[in-house]
Symmetry: C2
Subunit: 102 residues, 2 copies
């Protein structure tokens, strides 16, 4: 089973976070996770193929935008809001507001 | 001479702006332009090859992050701060602050 690697808060880089956010599907994921609950992959992107979804989770995880953890055979995801707010104050809020007004 | 095409303010899309910003060289360009002056290509990225620089100007222009205009044989660039602030309040400020603290 492949390990779910996450960059630490102090390793987050603005260009990686921007890249992770720079996609309509990934913005939708982030927007759904912003409600605060942990979600499974299936509930967050039900209409996207498994391989496409996997790619997007990986980009978001490796960029430091979301946290994934395994519970049995399920992967649960949550937004790294505290880490993002600590490192890049105001960034997530402005991006979420832009998605809201879309 | 190729026309310098710019998206109108209302055409700006958050994913395109994020993509345009998601690169260390482009972040450096934006940071330099944030001082407010119009700059020439040569003064903004003196250490980068012409073709690499051209690519980055284009991504920034097409994403709606900067404005380019020709004056004789020179291209002058400026940051579209008002447009970005109007459409995505707080985004540019948070990104610039992240670059500052780097």
């Amino acid at each position: 089973m492949v390990a779910l690697v996450h960059p630490a808060r102090e390793q987050l880089r603005i260009e990686d976070v921007l890249e992770a956010l720079a996609n309509p599907i990934r913005l939708r994921i982030v927007h759904r996770l912003a409600a605060g609950e942990e979600l499974t992959c299936g509930t967050t992107l039900p209409e996207v193929s498994k391989s496409t979804a996997s790619h997007h989770w990986r980009v978001l995880r490796e960029g430091g935008v979301l946290f994934q953890r395994r519970v049995g055979r399920t992967v649960l995801m949550s937004l790294r809001r505290e880490d993002l707010d600590a490192r890049f104050p105001g960034l997530l809020a402005s991006v979420l507001a832009a998605v809201d007004s879309d």
